[in-house]
């Protein structure tokens, strides 16, 4: 564009005549001014009230913590006394007065499992100090004997605690390891899901099962049973039995609740488009072994996504829609073109085994092809449909390709396709729409001028289709080699060149 023409255009743009605003427009606008514009004061007031709420909440938390700490200290002050009172002084109808810690629980019973379950359900309010002193009957077992029983029971309970600890450790282990553990524990599959061994927090049912089942097997294997319990405690254990059975029945409810059962790995398909990287490696292995992959094992979507890969620079925030058009990489006849869309989401470092958080929900892709400009089209891949995605995770890159046959005689600015990505952001809850328009002029530049990602994706698609039985592989291999030579650090281009050569050598 010459300077004169540009200046003329600028002049026309700048000097366009504009009518004066209609009379009364200013008054109309002023009439709309709301009465309360002081949003700042509102915000300050809200902030003050929130601060007050926080202070109240902090005071309550402090108060409750103080009470709990005091109770804990009182209990810790004389453990023998507490145990004695627990073992001997409680009436049969108040069996839950024992301390809550797992180690202490085992003291009061020769069958630790029963008592532990009973005590795990005991509310903290049932403190021994609540029992009136004059009503306490004399203990049938002297205190030194109780202490000795307690030592013996602790020694027996140690493997139980180890087993429970092992279960905690197994939360992140594989399913076989978990199963083996369950087998060792007498075949009852419990598990600690979000819970803490000893203090039952968020995992009471599982905890109950662990404690119930493991000692029973231990008792089977033990050479000598523990000493018989004191009478009141035996009654308490008998009372606890029906509740234990109920707990055991509920084991089937939590059987599937292991965190390790969740699929925390990367998604294999996004928008219904396969992004499974294993597909390429399987094909590559088959080719390296001198074989030929079966047509139904070649997933072109997956190959496209493998070669499109991750973006060189992932979006810093939110979601990005990348759209590009070019002539077809291997031109057969007519005005064949390729349209690529790629959705990249914000990168986030994820620790091993951790789940990837979503960045958007209710995402949908809408591809609108203009029939005035396009004679025919189809999506390259396994299906023409693009499925909606209920949740888009971080670190996602998904690419889709369309093959178009353009009509002749198109103007440069004629619309060929519009691609829209709609999603609701998880961070702000707002719905966003990203729209990209492809014009006929976008197909005029050569395929070699397209971005590297576009060329690799489209070449991967053509190669995939050739593996399925159509098209020749030699030209693809040559183009892939050119790409690999342009950037020797690009491992994907090298892989494609090698695989395309191998497939063409295999007679495809």
């Amino acid at each position: 564009m010459n300077v004169k023409r540009r200046a003329e255009l600028q002049r026309k743009l700048s000097l366009t005549a504009v009518p004066r605003p209609p009379a009364g427009l200013a008054e109309r606008i002023k009439a709309d001014i709301p009465k309360y514009l002081d949003a700042e004061n509102e915000r300050r007031r809200l902030s003050r009230s929130m601060t007050l709420n926080f202070r109240i909440a902090a005071s309550i938390i402090l108060l409750v913590s103080s009470v709990l700490v005091t109770m804990h200290l009182l209990r810790e002050g004389d453990p023998n006394l507490v145990s004695m009172k627990t073992a001997a002084a409680l009436p049969p109808r108040a069996p839950m007065a024992a301390p809550q810690r797992a180690a202490d629980v085992t003291v009061t019973s020769p069958t630790p499992s029963e008592v532990r379950v009973e005590i795990a359900q005991a509310p903290p309010a049932a403190m021994p100090v609540a029992v009136p002193a004059p009503e306490v009957p004399a203990p049938e077992v002297p205190a030194p004997e109780i202490a000795a029983q307690r030592q013996r029971a602790r020694a027996e309970a140690a493997p139980v605690q180890q087993l429970a600890d092992a279960r905690v450790a197994a939360r992140n282990e594989t399913a076989p390891a978990r199963d083996a553990l369950a087998e060792n524990a007498g075949g009852v599959e419990g598990g600690v899901v979000g819970g803490t061994v000893g203090n039952v927090v968020g995992g009471a049912v599982s905890e109950g099962i662990v404690v119930q089942s493991a000692p029973q097997q231990m008792a089977d294997n033990a050479p000598a049973p523990a000493a018989p319990p004191a009478a009141p405690v035996a009654t308490a254990a008998a009372t606890a039995a029906p509740r234990m059975a109920k707990t055991a029945n509920s084991s089937s409810i939590v059987r599937e609740a292991y965190a390790v059962d969740l699929d925390l790995g990367p998604r294999r398909a996004v928008f219904g488009i396969s992004v499974d990287a294993d597909v390429f490696h399987q094909i590559k292995t088959t080719l390296e072994n001198g074989g030929r992959p079966a047509a139904n094992r070649v997933n072109v979507d997956a190959l496209v996504n493998y070669f499109a890969g991750a973006p060189a620079k992932p979006p810093k925030h939110g979601v990005r829609l990348e759209v590009e058009a070019s002539p077809a990489p291997v031109q057969t006849s007519g005005n064949g073109g390729i349209v690529r869309f790629t959705v990249d989401t914000e990168a986030m470092p994820i620790a091993g085994g951790a789940s990837t958080p979503p960045i958007a929900k209710d995402a949908s892709l809408d591809v609108d092809i203009d029939g005035d400009a396009v004679a025919s089209f189809h999506r390259i891949g396994e299906s023409d449909d693009i499925a909606p995605e209920s949740a888009l995770l971080h670190n996602v890159s998904v690419t889709g390709l369309y093959a178009l046959e353009l009509k002749s005689g198109l103007r440069a600015m004629q619309r060929v396709a519009t691609i829209r990505l709609r999603y609701t952001s998880v961070s702000d809850g707002r719905t966003h729409t990203i729209e990209r328009v492809i014009h006929a002029g976008d197909f005029t530049r050569p395929w070699t001028a397209a971005s590297r990602r576009h060329r690799l994706a489209s070449l991967g698609a053509v190669w995939g289709e050739s593996l399925k039985g159509t098209g020749g592989g030699v030209d693809i291999a040559r183009r892939a080699e050119e790409l690999a030579l342009q950037d020797r650090r690009d491992a994907r281009a090298k892989e494609l060149a090698a695989a395309a050569n191998a497939s063409s050598g295999a007679g495809m």
């Binding site: 564009m1 743009l13 700048s14 200013a26 606008i29 001014i33 309360y36 915000r43």
Partner: protein, 200 residues
């Protein structure tokens, strides 16, 4: 067109950029609930907002309605304005979005009047010349409307909204060099589009 206001972008740039201190004071007063300050903001900016929207849509009545809608949205969004850009830049962004929403929303009513009927019915002696200018302006407007979203916003914000390149770069969150590249690309495309119009 009875009265025509000249609207060079550079002049508007100065009009739309009052001293920073005054603008901040005005904003603070509005946020403090001062209705008079809000009216002053309207007085200062409404004609420029109207002109920007008129250049986008080419219809005087529609431009007036959309200007009113722009300010309604502005009052509602005032608490979210962080003050990083100038007030007029923020208003222009709202106006542009309001216009886009208008052209994208489904039409429930179709006007029987021509969009530029007022201009055509002007009976002043220079009506022919004005008509020719109006037609040329309309062609240019249509060509601008055919640009892609980013190019269209850059061109209209700079030439019709009077925003400096630096301000556009700030609200688009890109460099001024990128904005200038956009303008260059837009000019090339506009030239192509206008040539195609002439040939056809």
């Amino acid at each position: 067109m009875a009265e025509v206001a000249s609207f060079p972008a550079r002049e508007r740039e100065q009009d739309a950029s009052p001293p920073v201190r005054g603008e901040q004071k005005l904003l603070a007063d509005i946020r403090a609930g001062d209705t008079a300050a809000a009216e002053e903001l309207v007085e200062r900016t409404y004609s420029a907002v109207f002109a920007s929207i008129f250049r986008l849509c080419g219809d005087r009545d529609l431009a007036a309605d959309l200007t009113q809608e722009t300010y309604q949205k502005a009052w509602a969004a005032l608490s979210g304005f962080d003050g990083r850009s100038q007030l007029f830049t923020w208003l222009y962004r709202i106006a542009y979005t309001t216009f886009l929403n208008h052209i994208r929303r489904p039409r429930r009513m179709t006007s029987l009047d021509e969009p530029d009927a007022i201009d055509v019915r002007d009976e002043r002696p220079a009506a022919d010349e004005l008509l020719a200018d109006a037609e040329e302006a309309e062609r240019l407007r249509e060509a601008v409307m055919k640009l892609s979203d980013d190019l269209r916003f850059t061109v209209t914000a700079h030439f019709w909204g009077g925003l400096p390149v630096k301000e556009i770069a700030r609200i688009e969150n890109i460099t001024t060099v990128a904005i200038r590249k956009r303008l260059h690309r837009a000019f090339s495309l506009l030239e192509t589009l206008l040539d195609e119009e002439v040939l056809s």
